[in-house]
C-alpha cells in the first residue's frame, strides 16, 4: 500500500464529486424510498411510516396496471425494433459501401434532436384522422393503398405505435454500436475461418456473431433503461392521456396534479427498481471484465 501522502491529494480533488454523488444520487434515492414508505399523501402533513403499504396498494389502482402494461409493450417493440433495425443497417454497411459517411450521418442525426421536437412531428404523422380528415401517415397510406390506422390512439396497439418514433430516434445509435462491433472483429479471424473451409455465412455465424455479444448486451441495457423511464416522447406526442400512460407520466401526474408525494415516490421507486434489477449486474460484470483485461 502506497503512503497516504501520494494518494490523498487525488481523493481531495474528487471529494466534491463524491459528496455530490453521495447526496444527489444515493442520498436522494434513499430519501425517495423513505418517502414512498410514508403516508404523506398531501403536501402539508408530515407523513408517518407505513412500511410497504404504498407499494402494495398501488396495484389496486387500474391506472397503474394500465401504465405498467403500456411500458411493457413499449419496451418490447422499441428495444426489439431498434435492435433489429440498427443491426440490419450496420450489417448492410459492414463491408464498406460508397457514401457510408453520409448514410451514417443521416441514420444518426435524429439522436441530436430532443424527443419533444420529434414528438411534434410524430404526433402529426400519427394523427388518427382518417379518409378526408386524414393528415400524416394515414393520408400517405390512403394514397398508396395501404390501410389507415388509429396509431397511438389504438386501444390495443397504441403503445406499439408510440414506440415508432423512439425506434426512429435510437436505431442509428444501435447501428453505430454494431458497426464498431463489426469493425472490431479482426480480419485475420475471418480469414482463418475461411481457410478452414467456412462459407461466408459460416464465418458470420461462428466468428462474427459471437464476438458481437458484448455489443448487443450494451445496446440492450441502454435501450432498456431508456425505455423503462420514457417520458418526454409520450408527453410530446399525447400529453397526459390515459390511453398512452406510462409509469413516468403517472408519477408526474401524481406529483403535480394529485399532489401526492408518497404516491409519486412509490411509482418512482418502482421505475428505479425495474432499471436497477438489470443495470447493477451489468455494471458489476463490465467493471470486472475491464479489470481482467
Amino acid at each position: 500500500m502506497r503512503r497516504a501522502r501520494t494518494w490523498l491529494p487525488g481523493l481531495l480533488l474528487v471529494a466534491p464529486s463524491i459528496v455530490a454523488i453521495g447526496v444527489f444520487v444515493y442520498g436522494m434515492l434513499g430519501w425517495n424510498f423513505r418517502l414512498a414508505m410514508t403516508d404523506e399523501h398531501d403536501e402539508v402533513t408530515e407523513g408517518k411510516f407505513v412500511g410497504l403499504d404504498n407499494f402494495i396498494s398501488l396495484w389496486d389502482q387500474p391506472r397503474w396496471h394500465i401504465s405498467v402494461n403500456h411500458a411493457i409493450v413499449f419496451t418490447i417493440v422499441f428495444v426489439l425494433g431498434a435492435l433489429v433495425l440498427g443491426w440490419l443497417l450496420a450489417f448492410l454497411m459492414e463491408k464498406g459501401i460508397r457514401g457510408e459517411g453520409t448514410f451514417r450521418a443521416i441514420y444518426l442525426f435524429p439522436m441530436a434532436i430532443s424527443f419533444v421536437a420529434t414528438g411534434i412531428v410524430w404526433r402529426w404523422l400519427m394523427n388518427s384522422g382518417m379518409d378526408e380528415r386524414a393528415v400524416g401517415l394515414n393520408r400517405l397510406f390512403d394514397a398508396i393503398g395501404l390501410p389507415q390506422w388509429q396509431w397511438f390512439r389504438d386501444p390495443d396497439w397504441g403503445m406499439a405505435a408510440m414506440a415508432l418514433p423512439a425506434v426512429w430516434q435510437m436505431s442509428g445509435y444501435v447501428m453505430a454500436l454494431f458497426l464498431a462491433g463489426f469493425r472490431g472483429v479482426p480480419e485475420e479471424l475471418r480469414e482463418a475461418a475461411r481457410v478452414d473451409g467456412c462459407t461466408e455465412w459460416g464465418v458470420y455465424r461462428h466468428v462474427v456473431l459471437p464476438l458481437l455479444r458484448p455489443v448487443t448486451l450494451s445496446a440492450l441495457i441502454i435501450l432498456g433503461h431508456i425505455s423503462l423511464k420514457v417520458f418526454d416522447l409520450i408527453v410530446a406526442v399525447s400529453g397526459k392521456q390515459i390511453i398512452t400512460d406510462v409509469p413516468a407520466v403517472f408519477m408526474w401526474v401524481a406529483v403535480f396534479d394529485s399532489h401526492d408525494p408518497a404516491k409519486g415516490a412509490t411509482i418512482a421507486s418502482y421505475i428505479v427498481l425495474s432499471v436497477a434489477i438489470f443495470v447493477i449486474p451489468y455494471l458489476v460484470w463490465s467493471v470486472r471484465k475491464e479489470r481482467r483485461t
Binding site: S17, W31, M93, G119, W124, V135, V235, A265
Partner: protein, 285 residues
C-alpha cells in the same frame, strides 16, 4: 469467377437500395417539418398535407420565434455554463481515477457509473424538496427551485458520471511513464495535470462539452419538474406551444426546428466528437 463477381455486384446493389430506402424513411419527419413550417395558414387543409407549399412564407417562423425566444435564451443560459462546469468536474475526476488513484478508486468509479443509469424520476421529488428548501434558506426566491441555477446544478451533478467516464477512458490512454516522469521531476498532482494531462485533453473536452450541451439543451424531464414560466427552457416552452390546440401546425413545426437548430448544428459541424460521446455512453471507451 465472373459468376461470383456478378453475384457480389448484385448483392452490393441490393444493399445500396435498402440503405437508400431507409434514408428516405428516416428523412420523412424532416420533410414534414420543413415543408409544413413554410406553409401559410390558408394551406392548412389536410388534402395538401404532403404537398410543397404553393406560396412559401416565413410567417410561421416569425410567430414561432416570438413565442420561443425567451425559452431559447433560457436554454443558452442553462446549457453553456452547465456543460463547461461538467467539463471541469469530469476532467478532474477522470484524471484522478485513471492516473492518481487512491485505494477504493475502482469501487468508487462503479458507484459513480450507477448514477449514469438511474432513472431521474427516482431522485426528483427529493430534489424538488431540496431546491425549495435552498430557496427558503437563502431567501432567493426562484433561484434554486424555479430558476436556471437550480437546473444547472442538477444537470452538472447528474452529469458527473458520464463526464468522468469519458475523461477517465481518454486519460487511460496517456502513458503512465509521462506521469511518472513528471512526478520524478518533483511535480505534484496539480502541476502534472497542468503540464502533462491538460495540454492533450482537447479531444475529450470537445466530446464532453458537446455531449453535455446536447443533453442539457434537449432535456425536458428536469426542466418540467424544476423550472417555472420565467425560467422554462426551449423544450418546455416548445411543448407548451405545441400543446395549445390553437397553435397551427406550421408554427409548431417552425418552433420545433428553431429549438433543434443548435444541437443540429453541433451534430453537423462536430459529428465526429458527437459519435465518440455516444460510444462512451456504451461503456466502450
Amino acid at each position: 469467377m465472373t459468376a461470383v463477381a456478378g453475384r457480389r455486384r448484385v448483392f452490393t446493389g441490393l444493399r445500396l437500395a435498402v440503405l437508400i430506402a431507409f434514408v428516405a424513411i428516416f428523412l420523412i419527419p424532416i420533410y414534414v417539418l420543413l415543408v409544413t413550417s413554410f406553409k401559410p395558414l390558408t394551406e392548412a387543409d389536410p388534402g395538401q398535407a404532403w404537398n410543397l407549399p404553393q406560396t412559401w412564407t416565413l410567417e410561421a417562423w416569425r410567430v414561432a420565434w416570438e413565442k420561443l425566444a425567451p425559452g431559447l435564451w433560457n436554454s443558452v443560459l442553462l446549457a453553456v455554463p452547465g456543460s463547461l462546469l461538467s467539463c471541469v468536474l469530469g476532467s478532474m475526476n477522470g484524471y484522478v481515477l485513471s492516473k492518481w488513484r487512491f485505494p477504493g478508486a475502482d469501487l468508487l468509479f462503479t458507484l459513480f457509473l450507477f448514477g449514469m443509469f438511474i432513472p431521474y424520476q427516482g431522485v426528483m421529488i427529493p430534489l424538488v424538496q431540496l431546491l425549495v428548501g435552498l430557496n427558503e434558506l437563502t431567501g432567493l426566491q426562484g433561484v434554486f427551485y424555479g430558476g436556471i441555477p437550480g437546473l444547472v446544478l442538477a444537470h452538472v451533478v447528474y452529469g458527473i458520471p458520464i463526464c468522468t467516464l469519458i475523461f477517465r477512458n481518454y486519460y487511460v490512454t496517456i502513458p503512465d511513464e509521462l506521469i511518472e516522469a513528471s512526478r520524478v521531476d518533483g511535480a505534484g498532482m496539480l502541476r502534472t495535470y497542468g503540464s502533462v494531462v491538460l495540454p492533450v485533453s482537447a479531444p475529450a473536452i470537445a466530446v464532453v462539452i458537446i455531449w453535455q450541451f446536447t443533453a442539457l439543451w434537449n432535456d425536458f424531464l428536469f426542466a418540467v419538474f424544476l423550472t417555472g414560466p420565467t425560467s422554462w427552457p426551449a423544450t418546455v416552452m416548445l411543448n407548451n406551444i405545441a400543446g395549445a390546440q390553437a397553435t397551427p401546425y406550421s408554427q409548431q413545426m417552425a418552433a420545433a426546428i428553431l429549438a433543434s437548430i443548435p444541437t443540429m448544428l453541433i451534430y453537423v459541424l462536430l459529428g465526429r466528437f458527437f459519435m465518440r460521446g455516444l460510444m462512451a455512453g456504451a461503456l466502450k471507451g
